[in-house]
Symmetry: C2
Subunit: 275 residues, 2 copies
């Protein structure tokens, strides 16, 4: 049973593809042009532009895929510049209307499109359960009491923002909200913590504060769970954060062994919690 | 009846001092060291460090002030490095406990300190009513229907964030949350919109999206109303925003004439709304 993987940017799609292949299943990658990395050539694949859903559907059917999974970052197109195939022309009005309501509505429309063509839409947790964050610490360090209070506050912030479809992440240091994610994405959000005066935040030598990343209540866990990897740990360490907390069961970790090793090397905790 | 103005950073304290003086009242400025600008020397003043509330109280009493107003940005001190006078030693534990709960709690403790010494704490709206944003547009332009939808969404975001004492501002462009303010402050938040790909946002030539700044529900309008000035209009124009919306009656505009002129020159609207 082949999985059709519609792959955007970032490390998640490759991690999913490798995890699915490691379990002996076939994977066919629909690589989104300009977003999906070169790794797609390690798998049977086709490349499509965002305006070509007809092309994607045909390739998936030819490959014998019965399930589809959307994974990775998809950048909002300039709708006026999209090159459309016939199917694209048909669905564009719905897509534009959904885009105005936010990223989550946009993803739901795309998922519905594949389902209406007879595919079953699956989530990462189902296709690649090894990537899902579990409760407890990964690596040697655990949050202290200050960290726990900051984790609770950051979860409250992410939940409030998520309910409005704003972002997935926030950083808090001893009660102060250091940074909150909107359209810039988590990496840029973490990086700008370095701009804050260093009595508000930790440093590489004396780490303080936490990063929390969590599913938005409006988000479909099938298409868009929060993801971290070893690079996220390095970025958090760089700006002096003491650790990272994720919602257990509802977020993903690419290469858990590498994340644990990097957390131990840099002196951060990485923890899955049930908030 | 002399007003004691405890002045932090930014343009607000000076605007308040000049507005109060223009109405024929006396002003005595307690300039916070390292935060308040040089303008304080235009008024009877004393300079105090954050750890010297005893010094501030004495100077205010000597100056015959009966009312006090805290205005402007106050940066969180490194409590371990504060040089304290006797009064500072007494109140420090309360201040540190409040600081852990956020900026608003911190300001409330400071206000309470002055009230317990017999001063009446007043707000900017009372001391300098000319600075308060009124309903309607300042300048020639008004928001269109797209802008109005973005204003409503940005107010919802700011309100949710404000309830958690995170920040006062957000920028939204055609439904997409471009940026949300936390510890970095509004200027830095606006500036980073320039980093987003230009199909997500407007440009100087074709402006799109709005900035909204509003009082946090946890905030005391006496001490910490949101403020904009001509510089805010220039920054918003620079990153391609179409306009700025404020909550009428609960936000401040430094130099309304200059703000209207700058908005007209750059092609933005500035509007007070009752959300």
């Amino acid at each position: 049973m082949t999985l059709g993987l519609i792959a955007g940017g970032g490390d998640l799609p490759r991690a999913v593809a490798e995890s699915v292949r490691a379990e002996g299943r076939g994977v066919f990658v629909v690589a989104l042009r300009g977003m999906c990395g070169d790794w797609a050539s390690d798998f049977p694949n086709t490349m499509v532009a965002l305006g070509e859903p007809g092309h994607a559907l045909k390739a998936l059917k030819n490959a014998g895929a019965t399930e589809v999974l959307l994974a990775g970052r998809v950048e909002r197109p300039k709708f006026s510049e999209l090159k459309l195939d016939a199917k694209g022309v048909m669905v564009l009005p719905r897509v534009i209307a959904a885009a105005r309501q936010g990223d989550d509505a946009l993803l739901r429309v795309l998922t519905n499109l594949f389902e209406s063509e007879g595919f079953r839409a699956v989530g990462v947790a189902e296709a690649a359960p090894g990537l899902v964050a579990r409760e407890g610490a990964l690596g040697r360090l655990v949050p202290n009491e200050d960290h726990k209070a900051d984790i609770a506050r950051a979860f409250a912030i992410v939940r409030a923002l998520g309910a409005l479809d704003v972002g997935q992440a926030a950083a808090v240091c001893e009660g102060l909200a250091l940074a909150v994610e909107a359209a810039e994405g988590t990496d840029a959000m973490i990086a700008r913590i370095a701009q804050l005066r260093d009595n508000l935040r930790g440093t590489r030598d004396k780490k303080r504060g936490v990063l929390v990343k969590a599913l938005k209540p409006t988000q479909d866990a099938k298409t868009d769970m929060p993801v971290i990897g070893a690079e996220t740990v390095r970025r958090a360490a760089e700006v002096g954060l003491g650790g990272i907390a994720l919602e257990a069961g509802k977020s993903l970790i690419v290469d858990k062994r590498a994340v644990a090793a990097e957390a131990d090397r840099l002196g951060l905790f990485v923890v899955g919690v049930l908030p």
